[in-house]
């Protein structure tokens, strides 16, 4: 163990729980909690040790499938030396105390949950352990140094006496907060680093897990909203007579996003919306289609953009060797969470309760504060399970609708989006157009690399103040940080506005840019007649983490070994969110249909907190990435998103799923991200295999090959 000063001791609170247990909380936001006293202890406890020995943990990050409820609980419980079989974890309420230290807000995204809470969650657990040990030592009248905490029990080593945590909790709650605590060295972890079953699995096999759509409140109405069919259209007027005549329909009224139809149940609300006559002003984008948007991107490329990275002299080298140029296109993508967007709000004069499948508790709370005028402490956010998130549930559109409906209806309202609503009113992964230029010298070495990106900016929509001089760092993730040792290199970005709203989509900029860069790299390697793995390893000579995952994936995949007739390997490596992932895909083409038979994935994410969960997330990333690689895209025609349901926006099905093998590089560095980093290499690994099979580079997604 190493003695470590508490990072935020001034804000740490220890107190007595209802029922006499030990409570430990970390009010984070400066100014909140500083005046907190024991008497006014924040109810937002990270951990509670009950007198009967049960341990309750509150997890600030949203459980959307990535296993964070289990992962964060493991961090706390390991340092607490809790008995894992007695640990329960629940979603925390919205409170400044629960802000993710990496984001400054309570939000789940950017693969930051484990990274953000790595230190503070373990400190909370360690404080609990030390207070319980101290309480036991005082009870026995011995030195705390002679006592040891193990699995929910304090042991006096010289005499073998033992006291259960539950018995000690009340006394521990009255001790002062230590200045510093012992934190475990990696080899001392007992939960971290070992696969633990997910805490949420039992509820997810018997139908009892409560998602946003499963919230049922007394007196609640269900609302569906008629929204503009065109991007940027506006409501002109509506005739609700037929809608109101539908049995079960209770109210019809306009809200900010359209016309809400409220009913006793979803079916009546949906029928009511069908019967509604709405007059829309189609707005300024009614003539827009995907081709027009791409022409704008091409114009953006022609005008040039801001330089995001430059080394050497790209312009000079262009004239000195074999020159390769290519245009790469990446389409818009929808999130398509299996649980469509929804929110439940109960706004009353004295307060507001929100039941949300949200990735953004702070933003949701503030959305309701703005709309209702209620102060923060009167807006309670109850985070349900999320039926998928992938970035979509950081948005506030569905929250606004529920709050507005509940305010107008004067009762609890659940707003439900149909699948059609969900796909046509998403905030989409940006489409981009990329011009790539590379130069090989006489020996086939890559001496120059230029990547010009044109496309819309996510930050321009969600945080315009963070876009300065046309720069959006999320747009060049995976491009500006190209890991390869190439002496002359330039990456530019041209921000091109488009009427299609864009948002964070699992792995964000890296999801497009790794595809573009890793595929163009294979084009240059092919031009040089070199091997994709060997050449990458040479170009990664200063990048040991990249080399390790690449060697691991290639080795386990049998790179270079003979494959069955008609199959080929493709490889890609990408760093994102603090982790590096390499994948080798084994692919064949059968009557124009790309089949992925096997994906070998190697990941370096530092300390592997829960290896089986990391395996799950890599499998998940491969399947998610394959949908964007092989299946659909979002396109626009006459100002409307064309894809409305899973017939036109298909997702990968089980019979198309390859064998997926995951290998984790053992690490002792603090954890990297896990939820997203598996996505970026998928498309290029598969596309590079198709390139190897056909000899034709794959320069746009989804992959289409001639039959």
């Amino acid at each position: 163990m190493i003695r470590a000063r508490l990072t935020r001791r001034a804000f740490l609170r220890v107190g007595v729980a209802a029922g006499g247990g030990l409570l430990i909380g970390f009010p984070w936001a400066p100014g909140i909690g500083e005046s907190g006293t024991r008497a006014a202890f924040s109810p937002n406890a990270w951990l509670t040790v009950h007198p009967d020995g049960r341990v309750d943990l509150r997890v600030a990050s949203s459980e959307m499938g990535q296993g964070v409820l289990t992962g964060i609980a493991m961090l706390i419980a390991d340092e607490l030396e809790a008995d894992w079989s007695r640990v329960r974890a629940k979603q925390a309420p919205a409170a400044p105390d629960f802000a993710n230290p990496l984001m400054g807000r309570q939000q789940t995204g950017g693969s930051t949950a484990i990274r953000g809470f790595w230190r503070v969650a373990r400190e909370a657990g360690a404080v609990g352990r030390e207070l319980l040990v101290e309480a036991a030592a005082a009870r026995w009248g011995v030195d705390a140094g002679e006592c040891l905490a193990r699995r929910g029990v304090v042991i006096h080593e010289p005499t073998g006496r033992r006291l259960d945590y539950g018995v000690l909790a009340a006394a521990a709650a009255r001790l002062p907060v230590p200045e510093a605590v012992f934190l475990k060295e990696p080899e001392e972890f007992r939960l971290i680093g070992r696969s633990q079953p997910r805490l949420d699995t039992p509820q997810k096999v018997d139908g009892s897990a409560r998602f946003g759509l499963d919230v049922r409140l007394p007196g609640m109405w269900t609302a569906v909203v008629a929204r503009s069919p065109t991007l940027g259209g506006r409501l002109r007027g509506f005739d609700a007579r037929a809608a109101r005549a539908v049995p079960g329909v209770r109210a019809v009224f306009p809200i900010e996003s359209g016309v809400a139809v409220l009913a006793d149940h979803f079916w009546a609300a949906a029928q009511g919306r069908e019967a509604l006559r709405v007059h829309w002003d189609p707005g300024p984008h009614a003539g827009v289609d995907s081709a027009a948007i791409e022409r704008n991107f091409a114009e953006g490329l022609a005008h040039g953009g801001v330089v995001e990275r430059e080394t050497g002299d790209v312009d000079r080298t262009v004239r000195e060797g074999r020159f390769v140029e290519a245009l790469y296109r990446v389409p818009y993508q929808a999130h398509a969470c299996m649980e469509p967007m929804n929110a439940t709000a109960d706004v009353r004069a004295d307060g507001c309760d929100l039941y949300l499948p949200t990735q953004a508790q702070t933003a949701s709370q503030e959305t309701a504060m703005r709309l209702t005028g209620l102060p923060r402490e009167r807006v309670r956010v109850h985070t349900t399970f999320l039926g998928g998130g992938f970035g979509r549930r950081s948005e506030q559109d569905f929250v606004r609708e529920a709050v507005q409906c509940s305010m107008k209806a004067g009762r609890p309202v659940q707003v439900v989006w149909s699948r059609e609503d969900d796909l046509t009113h998403d905030v989409y992964r940006p489409a981009t157009l990329n011009r790539m230029r590379g130069v090989l010298d006489g020996k086939g070495r890559i001496v120059s690399w230029e990547h010009n990106i044109a496309g819309p900016s996510i930050l321009a929509r969600v945080a315009p103040d963070r876009v300065r001089g046309g720069r959006d760092p999320t747009s060049v993730e995976g491009a500006a940080n190209l890991p390869y040792a190439i002496p002359n290199l330039r990456v530019t970005y041209a921000l091109v506005e488009a009427p299609v709203p864009v948002g964070f989509w699992r792995s964000v900029g890296a999801s497009q840019n790794a595809y573009v860069t890793e595929c163009f790299l294979d084009e240059l390697i092919a031009e040089a007649g070199a091997d994709p793995v060997e050449r990458r390893l040479e170009l990664l000579r200063d990048r040991p983490r990249h080399r390790r995952v690449l060697e691991l994936a290639a080795g386990r995949a049998g790179w270079g070994d003979a494959l069955p007739e008609g199959r080929a390997h493709g490889v890609a490596v990408a760093e994102s969110f603090g982790s590096v992932v390499a994948q080798v895909a084994e692919v064949s083409i059968d009557a124009g249909r790309v089949r992925v038979h096997r994906v070998v994935c190697a990941v370096d994410c530092g300390i592997a907190v829960n290896p089986d969960l990391i395996g799950q997330q890599m499998e998940s990333a491969v399947v998610f990435g394959l949908t964007a690689t092989l299946k659909g895209a979002i396109t626009v025609r006459a100002g409307r998103v064309e894809q409305r349901n899973f017939d036109t926006f298909a997702l990968l099905r089980l019979d198309e799923c390859p064998r997926i093998e995951v290998h984790i590089v053992p690490g002792t560095d603090p954890p990297g991200g896990v939820g997203e980093p598996g996505v970026p290499p998928v498309a290029p690994a598969v596309a590079n295999a198709v390139f190897a099979l056909t000899g034709r580079p794959v320069r746009s997604l989804p992959i289409r090959v001639a039959g």
Partner: protein
């Protein structure tokens, strides 16, 4: 008012006969374990068993199932002890969990018909239900494990 037989119990629901079974279960009877995903019978997350056969409850009119036996995820076992549920836990299948009721009931129906399914049969049957999280590799393993558990129980 339509009378239904859900999870072995006779219940009444006050939705119109043309309303889909899905909404009768979720909104009328509060069996929220059955999920809404697409409403047009493509994603399979609304799957329930009708006289043992998997059906898309989002496309099944309420009036058409009056008096027939409907099994939802809530009725599969009182304590998650059904071999398919045990296999799902052992293989740690669920991620977000939203589609899993549909996956599990589809697997139950497959194993009733084919107690020792081939890989091709598993792929064919379970391709009926979409999973955006990508739990497919574990679903394959869990179905094989469940088949083994059921064979073991039948033998003992």
């Amino acid at each position: 008012m339509v009378e239904l037989q859900v999870n072995g119990r006779r219940v009444e629901v006050s939705l119109p006969g043309e309303a889909p079974l899905l909404w009768a279960l979720r909104d009328g009877l509060r069996f929220t374990g059955t999920k809404y995903g697409c409403g047009i019978g493509l994603c399979g997350v609304c799957t329930v068993l009708l006289d043992g056969e998997p059906v898309r409850s989002c496309l099944t009119p309420l009036a058409s199932v009056s008096g027939r036996s409907i099994l939802t995820i809530e009725g599969l076992s009182p304590d998650r002890s059904h071999p398919v549920q045990r296999a799902w836990i052992a293989e740690q299948v669920p991620q977000c969990g939203y589609c899993q009721s549909g996956q599990i009931l589809t697997a139950v129906a497959l194993l009733a018909r084919h107690p020792r399914p081939t890989d091709a049969q598993i792929d064919a049957a379970l391709s009926a239900v979409l999973c955006r999280c990508g739990t497919y590799p574990r679903i394959r393993r869990a179905v094989r494990r469940a088949a083994g558990l059921m064979a073991g129980e039948a033998a003992s």
